[in-house]
């Protein structure tokens, strides 16, 4: 059994990479078929890893047979397993969606002008997925940098597939993403200088003996700033909304749902595994907590003022990111007295995975609507629900997950965060959560309600612009494939509710391989 698990740890990264390479050689339709096959097989490989972690031990793969300080070891501990499973679920659904609705993958330029759908999507997306899996399972600091860079560059390229208006946001995203990775690399260099090794576990062992914490602290802050740029924490968030809303229909869920999580996983690896929490790190955690609170409030208020659907959903991403950083002060205080509920750590993971599923569904639906109606202005999409009932239901379910209402992973995450906050006497966290929940309900309702309810024809008021108030005509009749695409998004909505029951299972999973 361990043979298969170790093999699947490697296969999770190298298989999509191989497929990404091969897919560049073949034609358009063959790319979609190979893409779907790879997605299913890669998701299959997550099963043995998650199963092994579920019954207690964390599998390890020593690459090339060279032991730690020299070679690279891949570790499949609790954190990796949870994120692998979440990513696999979303990736399979989105891959099949991209295969069914090729127009969702962007616009490509032919000598006779712009055509919908971009075959270049497939190698980039499979490469991005390989990078994501690489980041989750890697146990080596420099390897984390290379994985982060792979995810970053492919994400920038995926944004740029969206045609002329997406190039400028893609470039701004490139600058911030690469600067973030370079700062992270500086931190890695500093740690390598102090500890003499690049392996996370060994670095931790050395850092614990070193009594002068300044180097570790500086490395930690450099890495945190770098990764903060990649995750778009508030002061460094200006690149996110234009990039995510200009990206093609199937790319924005990938960006919002999956790419940001790579930065978060590395941040958790650094904070909880690589660098021991010294007293001086407390102020940094509190700074992150404050920035998180600001992110929640600023993101929600700005989302309330949006009049287009995709920027609204993008701003909600910024708000949700705030929640993860809100838990950092609790993470630090709990760490000292190990007795207190380590709820904050599992709260961050539950919120992140819940956000992954819910945001994936919501952004896919928003992109799909924009694809069908040519616009994502909420005023002009009024009444779009009549023709797409399953889509609106999926958006409603995903909104439940984002707001954090019961039976969703978001609720489980907020519950654990609230209990951890109450346990650590941090009342302001509970206040921010309550405010965030209400604001989230506000802006998501503003986004989805007009779609849901169509005033019958004889409604008295006229829309401001001359568009007739019946739902704007969808671009052509809905083909069978697009119908199936719609059901896929509904699957994501149902998954948001379904994963709500996994709160405690994820908690037990996270206990495996914790430092």
């Amino acid at each position: 059994m361990t043979e298969l698990v170790e093999f699947s740890l490697g296969a999770l990264v190298l298989l999509p990479l191989l497929a990404a390479a091969v897919v560049m050689l073949i034609g358009h339709t063959a790319r979609r078929v190979l893409g779907v096959v790879t997605a299913v097989v890669t998701a299959g490989f997550t099963v043995p890893v998650v199963a092994t972690v579920a019954d207690g031990d964390a599998p390890e793969l020593v690459l090339g047979g060279f032991t730690a300080p020299l070679g690279i070891t891949l570790r499949g501990d609790g954190l990796a397993a949870v994120f692998l499973a979440g990513t696999a679920l979303i990736a399979v659904v989105l891959t099949v969606f991209a295969a069914l609705v090729p127009a969702a993958t962007g616009e490509h330029l032919t000598p006779s002008g712009w055509r919908p759908g971009h075959p270049g999507f497939w190698p980039l997306w499979l490469g991005c997925w390989a990078g994501l899996n690489g980041v989750y399972v890697s146990g080596d600091l420099f390897n984390l940098y290379v994985g982060l860079e792979l995810v970053g560059l492919t994400a920038v390229a995926l944004v740029a597939l969206g045609g002329r208006k997406s190039w400028d946001p893609a470039l701004r995203y490139l600058f911030i993403a690469v600067l973030g990775s370079l700062l992270f690399l500086t931190g890695v260099g500093l740690l390598a200088a102090v500890t003499g090794t690049l392996d996370i576990a060994q670095a931790r062992a050395v850092l614990e003996e070193v009594e002068d914490p300044t180097a570790g602290l500086l490395a930690l802050s450099l890495m945190t700033v770098g990764l903060g740029m990649k995750i778009a924490l508030v002061p460094m968030h200006r690149w996110l909304v234009p990039a995510h809303s200009a990206a093609p229909a199937v790319v924005s869920p990938i960006l919002s749902g999956l790419v940001i999580k790579a930065g978060l996983v590395i941040l958790l690896r650094v904070w909880l595994w690589a660098v021991p929490l010294v007293a001086e790190a407390i102020w940094l955690a509190w700074l992150l907590g404050a920035l998180g609170a600001i992110a929640v409030l600023v993101g929600s208020v700005l989302a309330l003022r949006q009049d287009r659907l995709k920027p609204l959903v993008a701003y909600s991403t910024i708000a949700q990111i705030g929640y993860w950083f809100l838990a950092f002060p609790l993470l630090v205080t709990e760490h000292d007295d190990a007795g207190a509920a380590p709820g904050a750590y599992s709260a961050i993971v539950a919120l992140a995975v819940g956000h992954m599923v819910a945001k994936g569904g919501l952004f896919a639906a928003a992109g799909y609507l924009k694809l069908r109606f040519g616009t994502d202005e909420i005023a002009r999409l009024r009444g779009a629900g009549a023709q797409y009932p399953a889509l609106i239901l999926a958006m409603g379910a995903c909104a439940v997950g984002l707001i954090g209402l019961p039976v969703s992973l978001g609720f489980a995450g907020k519950w654990q965060l609230a209990t951890a906050a109450v346990g650590a006497q941090q009342w302001w966290v509970v206040v921010v959560i309550a405010a965030g929940t209400l604001l989230a309900a506000g802006y998501l309702l503003r986004g989805i309600a007009p779609l849901l309810l169509q005033a019958p024809q004889e409604s008295d008021h006229q829309l401001p612009d001359t568009g007739d108030e019946t739902a704007p005509a969808a671009a052509g009749s809905k083909t069978r494939a697009e119908g199936a695409g719609e059901l896929l998004i509904l699957l994501l909505g149902v998954a948001t509710i379904g994963t709500g029951f996994l709160g405690s299972w994820i908690y037990d999973l996270l206990g495996v391989g914790l430092w």
Partner: protein, 506 residues
């Protein structure tokens, strides 16, 4: 044993009905109605099966799955447990859901978006039944929030500007309440560990109240504040009249049975099964709640007096009647608690009759204002009879169920440390009479409208009362009288309420 699965089956029954109905195309009306009614009938039968098992043999079927992790490894479960109080409320909602479904099928014939309506309709009942069977605070909170979510599309069903605004107001209130309950539950769980509903109050909540009464009181205020939103206690009641914009079956089921009762049911659970009546009494939180409830009773009736629209008047009367339950529960006497709990059911039956009749008047005669009801007695005799019975029940005249519960509440007030509540009951009954009797008088003895002012040429002729709407209204009227007359039978609501009250005070 099989009984343990029954609560889960009851909840999943409505969910499966919803799953079947949602994708149905609009014109499949026949299939949709059969599925609806079949679901409702099976639910009523299953509840009837449970009554002897739970009340007589004292069995507590239970179903639980782990849901939320706590710090030290073991998880807080989602628990569905059937105890007499749960059965009481589930029975009420199952029965009235059946009648309201029939009413709704008739009412919405030929209108748009019916699949969506009935889908959310059955989801709403699933949430209500789930809420009644919930075995601990977490499960209660889950179904409480689910109820908010599912009733939003129902309130906003017509899709015009007015109903959108009303739905937004309702959502804002309900979500605010939900967040308050969430914070209260989190705080309580952290202070006293996961709280299970137990007759006579949870043990660790009692010792929390002993060690730090101030904190326990604060958490109590948070919980009751959150639940107060849905049970329309005075400062938080303004969403209820605004939500009257919804179609008649929605306002009938929601504001007579599901939403409002969920809030009050929550308050009964918190007072009796979380804190326990004695602990709440020592904390001294019952009296302020009693004062608020009394004020709501009086204020609701007073506002109802000033309304000119039928549905608005009924809405404010709901606001005041629901607080009777809170009144009974917080009066710290066994008879009063029994009266409060039994009023939970009686008020549901009577109010749904009145809403059915209001819907009938609106549908058949287009009468929305009370003044338009002049002479309705001769034109719609059966609806008017049902309306009159409902009105007498509300006032509390002898043969109806209303009399039973008010009588019980009066007895409770006498033996409780707050005799002044009896005065509140009397004043409120007078106010009820003040705003119901003129309507009844208008219906029966209002002179026929002179031909030239009323363009309806039919003048005094009979108006066809649609059977699908009339039968449920008459049924509920008959039940109101039946419950009033046969109050002393073994499985009558009063007996079950007494049984519950003894459990609370044991």
């Amino acid at each position: 044993m099989v009984n343990d699965l029954l609560p889960l089956i009851l909840v999943l029954l409505s969910v499966s009905v919803a799953v079947v109905i949602f994708p149905l195309p609009e014109q499949a009306a026949r299939l949709r109605s059969t599925v609806n009614i079949a679901g409702a009938v099976t639910k009523v039968v299953l509840v009837m099966l449970l009554v002897p098992v739970v009340v007589a043999e004292g069995a507590r079927p239970e179903f639980s799955i782990p849901f939320l992790p706590t710090g030290d490894g073991e998880a807080i479960p989602l628990v569905l447990r059937v105890d007499p109080l749960a059965l009481f409320f589930a029975g009420l909602s199952a029965l009235l859901w059946l009648l309201t479904t029939i009413y709704a099928i008739g009412y919405l014939k030929g209108k748009p978006n019916r699949s969506r309506f009935f889908g959310f309709f059955s989801l709403c009942v699933a949430a209500t039944v789930g809420l009644s069977f919930s075995g601990n605070l977490i499960t209660f909170l889950v179904f409480y929030e689910l109820l908010t979510l599912v009733t939003y599309p129902l309130v906003a069903h017509w899709g015009d500007e007015k109903s959108l605004q009303a739905a937004k107001l309702y959502m804002r209130y309900a979500l605010g309440g939900g967040v308050a309950v969430l914070i209260g539950v989190v705080w309580l769980t952290m202070e006293a560990g996961p709280v299970d509903f137990a007759e006579g109050g949870a043990a660790d909540v009692a010792e929390l109240a002993a060690t730090s009464p101030g904190l326990a009181a604060l958490i109590f205020v948070l919980l009751i504040g959150g639940l107060g939103v849905k049970s329309a206690l005075v400062p938080l009641h303004s969403w209820l009249p605004a939500a009257m914009v919804a179609p008649a079956p929605v306002s009938a089921l929601l504001h007579a049975v599901a939403v409002v009762k969920a809030g009050v049911f929550g308050i009964v659970r918190v007072v009796d099964d979380v804190y326990g009546i004695e602990v709440a009494w020592e904390l001294g939180v019952l009296t302020p709640l009693l004062v608020i409830a009394s004020f709501t009773v009086i204020y609701g009736s007073y506002q109802a007096l000033r309304q000119s629209e039928i549905k608005k008047r009924l809405a404010f009367s709901t606001v005041s009647q629901v607080s009777y339950v809170v009144l009974g529960v917080t009066m710290f006497s066994m008879a009063a608690t029994a009266g409060g709990v039994v009023h939970l059911v009686h008020q549901g039956i009577m109010k749904i009759t009145l809403f059915f009749c209001a819907g009938l008047f609106a549908e058949a005669m287009g009468a929305h204002k009370i003044s338009e009801l002049r002479g309705a007695g001769r034109r719609m005799p059966w609806t008017s009879v049902a309306f009159t019975i409902g009105a007498f029940g509300m006032i509390g005249l002898p043969p109806t169920a209303g009399f039973i519960s008010k009588w019980q509440l009066g007895l409770g007030a006498l033996e409780s440390p707050h005799p002044w509540v009896l005065a509140v009951l009397v004043v409120s009954s007078l106010l009820n009479a003040a705003y119901f009797l003129p309507v009844v008088w208008l219906i029966w003895f209002g002179e026929t409208p002179d031909p030239e002012t009323d363009d309806d040429a039919a003048g005094g002729t009979k108006v066809r009362e649609p059977a699908m709407l009339l039968v449920p209204a008459v049924c509920t009227a008959v039940i109101t009288v039946g419950v009033g007359v046969a109050a002393s039978l073994t499985f009558a609501p009063l007996e079950i309420a007494r049984f519950i009250a003894e459990g609370v005070f044991s």
